[in-house]
């Protein structure tokens, strides 16, 4: 079985994988990083979004071997070492942007990628960007709101608090 090595959340990570092993399986099964979720088998749901070399990637669409030498960031590496939530995570909690939590890691990782490129996205830009992230619980209201808040926008006027 081939070996793969990469950096995950700043630490070296390696393991034996099959050619068909997905990055999502490598992270979950080999690395025990179960925060990356798998919600579909057609690359539609976005529960598995991680960052590979700074870009948002659906970890279920990439073979582990393709991430050889890459810098991978997952939900487990987003909070500060002392546990303090980052701005996006904190906004999700503050604005109730999650219910069951299953879509949440992918949402947070997608939001981070969006805000890196577009620090003050409009509501429409956020909704458009989240096209690849399904949430069945929240009706998206509080997710969009949380991302707007995380980007420093005033969300007080948005309907319903």
């Amino acid at each position: 079985m081939p070996q793969v090595s990469m950096t995950v959340n700043g630490k070296p990570a390696s393991g034996d994988v099959e050619g068909r092993t997905l990055l999502s399986s490598f992270l979950r099964d080999t690395m025990g990083l179960t925060g990356t979720h798998v919600g579909c088998d057609t690359s539609q749901c976005g529960a598995c979004v991680v960052h590979v070399d700074g870009e948002a990637v659906k970890a279920c669409t990439m073979f582990a071997l393709e991430a050889e030498g890459a810098e991978v960031a997952t939900i487990e590496g987003q909070a500060a070492p002392d546990g303090t939530l980052n701005a996006i995570q904190a906004a999700f909690q503050e604005h109730h942007g999650l219910q069951c939590g299953f879509c949440t890691p992918g949402m947070v990782m997608s939001a981070a990628a969006l805000l890196k490129d577009n620090p003050k996205p409009s509501e429409a830009e956020i909704r458009d960007y989240l096209e690849g992230n399904l949430c069945r619980c929240t009706g998206y209201h509080n997710i969009v709101k949380a991302i707007m808040a995380a980007s420093g926008q005033n969300v007080g006027a948005i309907a319903a608090e």
Binding site: C45, L98, Q99, C100, G101, E131
Partner: protein, 788 residues
Amino acid sequence: MPKDHEGIGASSKRREDVRFLTGAGNYTDDINVNGQAYVHFLRSDVAHGRLTKVDTSEAEGMPGVIRVFTGADFEGVGGLPCGWCVTDRHGQPMQEPAHPVLAQGKVRHVGDPIAAVVAETAEQARDAAEAIEVDIEDLPAVVDMKAALKDDATKVHDDLSSNLCYDWGFVEENREAVDKAINEAAHVTTLELKNQRLVANPMEPRVAVGDFNRATGEHTLYTTSQNPHVIRLLMGAFVLGIPEHKLRVVAPDVGGGFGSKIFHYAEEAFCTFAAKAVNRPVKWTSSRSEAFISDAHGRDHVTKIELALDKDNNFTAIRTETYANMGAYLSTFAPSVPTWLHGTLMAGNYKTPLIYVNVKAVFTNTVPVDAYRGAGRPEATFQLERVIDKAARELGVDPIALRRQNFVTEFPYATPVAVEYDTGDYNGTMDVLEKMADLSGFEARRKESEARGKLRGLGLNCYIEACGIAPSQLVGQLGARAGLYESATVRVNATGGIVVMTGSHSHGQGHETTFPQVIADMIGIDADMVEIEHGDTANTPMGMGTYGSRSIAVGGSAMVRAAEKVINKAKKIAAHLMEASEADIELKDGQFSVAGTDKSVAWGDVTLAAYVPHNYPLDEIEPGLEETAFYDPSNFTYPAGAYACEVEVDPETGKVEIKRFAAADDFGNIINPMIVDGQVHGGIGQGIGQALLENCVYDESGQILSASFMDYAMPRADDVPFYDVDHSSQTPCTHNPLGVKGCGEAGAIGSPPAVVNAVIDALHSGGHKVDHIDMPVSPARVWAAMNA
């Protein structure tokens, strides 16, 4: 005051969020038991056929294969039980087919499991499953419900007399009176409609991990369930014959349910059974594709409704005829959905004196259908609110005025369909809606849309639902094979901290935050001193779980009852410590005091005394401070609301865009407004999904055409707007201690009719006299209706 210690009424931030936001949640697929093997199910790819050969010999020799199971291995094992027996119009019990864990003799829907491979890895199990040789003699597939009831239809179950599960009439005694009222009415509005088949699609697919401890003889099942105790009872007693004390069922963090994780599924029984048979833990993780053909589906009703009005536009009678698809087998609560969760709601918010509901439940070669968010109540609301809208248009009256004129205004109100509404204020709730939705500004907005070449429509909807399921004796009479109480144990520790063990289950609802808010209020302590445990039969009392918007109304009430017992005992201890009479003891802000004196002892002093009973009334009471309560509600709760949706229809393409959505709900008292808002948002999102996008489609051969997220249109962030929600209209429930009604399903019940009514209104504004469009109201359907 309450807000300071995050009690009732505070929008406390959720404590469960931190683990979910940091990837530290513990979902069933995150659980790996030492030495586990993996299972892959070989499922039927045809809708209906006779199994003539299942040859596993090649698969058994494949790398990593531990054992291959077929239906033959389950011959001595019970089938999956149905938890509700409906009695038909003639007093006969429904037809109830066997539901084997693995198919025996026949396959009856695409996805029916034929065999299961247990192997060292998931990939090896999958590879080996492909090597199983199966011959199936094709039989004609029964897909259309009306065709299924024809005399010459192929039978889904050879041993049943037909494909009719039951023909239910409700209230049967009213049938003739309803017929007469409709014949004599000044006006009758008729509508035929479909409530399409949906797939619940919680984002977490189902998972089951079975484990067997040979030394103790104990089975453990980790499963994605909304009600682990129910699974333990059904699987233990009816399928595998394992007594409860040898069977532990754990439902850890669960990634959404929406009903689809209520039911006992074959994969749970298989993993439990196989773990003992192969002497290894056995894990199954559903793929999404597998979920589409193995999770119970929802809705799938075809209905004709007639609404009779007198010359003054008062509703005089309602008659409905519904065909309800059961699929190929009876899922756990399937028979109750089109009957007791649907017929009983046909009065809606209105004082219609005569109602008759006929439901024919039908077996077809499709995935079983069962409860999905709202379960029966969305179907009832959709018919009623669509037909009222049509009646208003036919009569040329304002749809809000017509509704208001017919609202129930006096409570309690006994409907002609067996339920009694305890409280409500439908006019008050409508007032809230009219204001928040700025309905008076609609015409101006319509003009503005028209100036841009768009058709704007306004759709109204009122709903009522029966939640807080349910009074056990009542549902027992109606055919439920289980009680529907809830339980809680309140364990106070020596230093005053509290653990509440509830039979209720949270899979997104936020119990870990809201339940402590209630206890914090009752005792006057910080909510952080209270912890909630749920989801593990080993440490929670027997409880019925979470569905039907019942957690706070029933589970919360059980917790309150247990906490009251704790407080009563603590008062006895406090009285002893202060040498006062128990009757004079007051508990406030975490302090026990003697009325009229300045004597007091703290909560922690009393709890410590309970466990270190040196100075303690041992001759009167036992040490310790831990109480359990089972709460059986005396009635359902009746949340109600008024929703308004504004859409724009593009006349060129038929595309519908939701511009505004306002929801005014009466949930009675509210524990955590932030969480209630979130529940309503989610429900509306799903309701909009049903109204505009989602559709589970079978072709004539019984092949499912929408079996992945590529073909089944889930609502995405850019399909929905921000929602305006308001819960200021509050009539507290009169019969539970918190005055709460439940909020989990409201949005999914209230939103689809509002959206469709808005689309129809938009089309009429453009001169298109369209009476109805079936959901999903897709661009193609809207365009076709406009251009018919």
